[in-house]
């Protein structure tokens, strides 16, 4: 069993996955932040590989990516950081990024490096289902590197079944038609959507993300999925901080959620 499967086997609800941008606020902050987050009770982390043109991300994550790139973050540095961090924490480490980053690194080299340094799974929002199916599914499957696919309100039932068949990680339920960080609280329409998905009894566990920002939204989301992913709200909470203050802010943030 990989770390993702183990987590979902052990914990059926209230899973908190925190998104953080690698290289933000400072180039070397991510590893220590992950340790802080684990100690504070976070179940899983999703590490954003900063990208120059992050299409699916809202302003907050865009801005953090820009700073991370200015700080000098690269995939090689990130992989080194993860390799060093891996033995020091138990939680699953997921990488999130854009498919061009994988292509330029080289698909095979990217997958091999992920396995070598101990990445537990991938989220590549702009790798569409059809491309995954035609070219990449086998690669990820053979390497036993789970890939989590997105489902959003406009995804049809037939397509959700296809996504289920190709997803090897958890299902990422996009809370709303939104780029990250944009929704307010959960509304009627979203509740209907969550209920619709819940009624489909997916074979994979699912987490709800995009626009989940506080305890209230987290608790609500947890009723319909195994937990939720919080990104932009966390990035805002640590923005501009360093040293002890940074870790205190991260810890406080988690304590307000769980």
């Amino acid at each position: 069993m990989n770390r993702i499967e183990k987590l979902f086997a052990q914990k059926k609800e209230g899973i908190l996955n925190i998104f953080l941008t690698a290289g933000y606020p400072g180039l070397d902050d991510m590893p220590k932040l992950v340790k802080t987050l684990e100690l504070a009770g976070v179940d899983m982390v999703e590490i954003g590989m900063p990208y120059s043109d992050p299409l699916a991300d809202g302003e907050t994550i865009q801005a953090s990516s820009k700073i991370a790139l200015e700080n000098g973050m690269t995939l090689d540095i990130l992989f080194e950081q993860i390799q060093e961090l891996r033995p020091q924490v138990k939680l699953p480490i997921i990488l999130m990024g854009y498919f061009n980053q994988v292509l330029q690194y080289g698909e095979h080299r990217f997958i091999e490096t992920c396995k070598r340094v101990g990445v537990d799974g991938l989220i590549l929002p702009d790798l569409p289902l059809i491309e995954l199916e035609r070219r990449y599914h086998r690669l990820f499957a053979d390497a036993e590197l789970p890939i989590s696919l997105l489902v959003c309100p406009s995804t049809t039932e037939a397509r959700i079944r296809q996504i289920e068949a190709l997803s090897t990680g958890f299902i990422y339920l996009v809370a709303d038609a939104a780029t990250t960080g944009n929704a307010a609280s959960i509304n009627e329409q979203q509740l209907l959507y969550f209920k619709r998905i819940q009624a489909m009894k997916l074979t994979h566990p699912s987490l709800i993300g995009f626009g989940i920002s506080d305890k209230n939204a987290f608790d609500q989301a947890s009723q319909f999925a195994q937990g939720a992913i919080i990104g932009s709200a966390f990035i805002r909470a640590i923005s501009g901080l360093a040293g002890e203050q940074l870790h205190q802010a991260a810890e406080n943030f988690v304590q307000r959620i769980i």
Binding site: D53, N100, L127, I130, T156, A177
Partner: protein, 392 residues
């Protein structure tokens, strides 16, 4: 054969690399666009608007003094004479008809030079549909007349403040807007870029350029094709339209003119076919300027419409396969060509189109050969830039 496959690829370039949030919109378009465009009712309305509103067909003008200078037979396809001053409106007319049929009530667009923004604002005014145009902050400053035109036409111009604050970033913002407003909004993309089916749909709407050209050339020269066909390439829509009916006619030399900016090796360039490598930008696998890590490099061109780090997948394929030849023109060369055309033919070209004119200097032709330059737009929007560099 230059042909699109069922997955939206020209050779290895194309596809639709969009997040799931955009899938249903892109898929909706993909399913209908070929059939709808072919429908007689659609064609009737499209042709009526191109004729009575846009002012098509645009003339094919024999440029006598320019021909004399370059010792060949040069014709200019006068897309600058379209309503709103560029080829961009051929596409916006087509897409607004699609949007209308889809029942969309809100239109978004990106713009670089502002020509596509103006063309979109124009068709939205014509149809009484709300219009929001994303434009890079840098471009808002350098193309002020077009910003004013969009506002007068009732569009809202939203500044793109990320990255290089030019066309690439405006496109990012438009895509983000579409992700957030999938139900009521249609995205009228301004070039043959973006996820499939946009490149092919835009190329089809722009193909009216080469359709007319065939007829006009036959009348004027006795054969329906030129020996050389030159067009500037930002994303590549005017070039796609000019090349369209000649793609599989080997006797026509296709020349795609890119912006070299301050020089290909200056670090301030937009010559994608030379500086670019295979990657993904705006949902399409194509050639783009990027670092080894896949970060997109901010381009530079004096011309806002060519200041883009990618090219459409069709052009990536044409160039990679050797079907089209790419020529890079610097800011200086384009400015000079703009003045040359003004003084020789009494036509002030858009800075984008001036790049195509400047390519004449880089190529050699037989005296009897027919050369067509697609004059994609007029230079009114660029007067301030031209005046800064005016010869004394």
């Amino acid at each position: 054969m230059i042909q699109l496959d069922e997955y939206g690829y020209y050779g290895k370039f194309g596809g639709a690399f969009v997040p799931e949030m955009l899938f249903s919109n892109v898929e909706e378009l993909r399913k209908i666009y070929v059939d709808w465009i072919a429908e007689p009712d659609f064609q009737k309305e499209f042709q009526r608007l191109l004729r009575d509103y846009v002012g098509r067909p645009t003339p094919l003008f024999f440029a006598e003094r320019l021909s004399e200078k370059y010792q060949t037979q040069i014709y200019l396809k006068r897309e600058d004479l379209n309503h709103t001053g560029a080829h961009k409106i051929n596409n916006t007319i087509g897409q607004i008809l699609i949007a209308e049929r889809l029942g969309k009530t809100r239109i978004i667009a990106e713009t670089g030079a502002g020509q596509h923004g103006v063309a979109t604002a124009t068709v939205c005014a014509l149809k009484g549909i709300r219009c929001i145009v994303y434009m890079g902050e840098v471009d808002i400053l350098r193309q002020a007349p077009n910003v004013a035109r969009m506002k007068m036409l009732g569009a809202e111009v939203r500044p793109a403040k990320s990255g290089s604050r030019t066309l690439k970033d405006a496109t990012n913002e438009a895509i983000r807007d579409w992700i957030q407003n999938p139900d009521d909004t249609h995205y009228i993309i301004g070039s043959v870029v973006g996820p499939h089916p946009f490149p092919d749909m835009v190329a089809r709407f722009q193909s009216v350029i080469s359709l007319e050209m065939k007829k006009q050339l036959l009348e004027k020269t006795g054969k329906d094709y030129p020996d050389h066909l030159i067009a500037c390439v930002g994303g590549g829509s005017n070039a796609a339209g000019a090349f369209y009916h000649y793609l599989n006619r080997k006797e026509v030399g296709l020349i795609a003119v890119e912006a070299a900016g301050e020089g290909i090796d200056s670090g301030k360039s937009a010559a994608t076919s030379v500086l670019g490598t295979d990657g993904i930008i705006h949902g399409s696998r194509t050639l783009l300027m990027q670092t080894a890590d896949g970060q997109i490099i901010e381009p530079h061109s004096i011309s806002a419409g060519l200041d883009y780090p990618g090219i459409g997948p069709m052009h990536a394929h044409l160039i990679a396969s050797g079907r089209a030849k790419a020529v890079a023109i610097t800011d200086q060369e384009a400015l000079q060509a703009g003045f040359e055309l003004a003084r020789l033919e009494g036509i002030i070209p858009a800075l984008e189109s001036a790049h195509a004119i400047a390519a004449l200097d880089k190529l050699s032709f037989e005296k009897s050969e027919v050369v067509v330059i697609n004059l994609s737009g007029r230079g009114d929007k660029d007067l301030e830039t031209y005046m800064k560099f005016a010869p004394k």
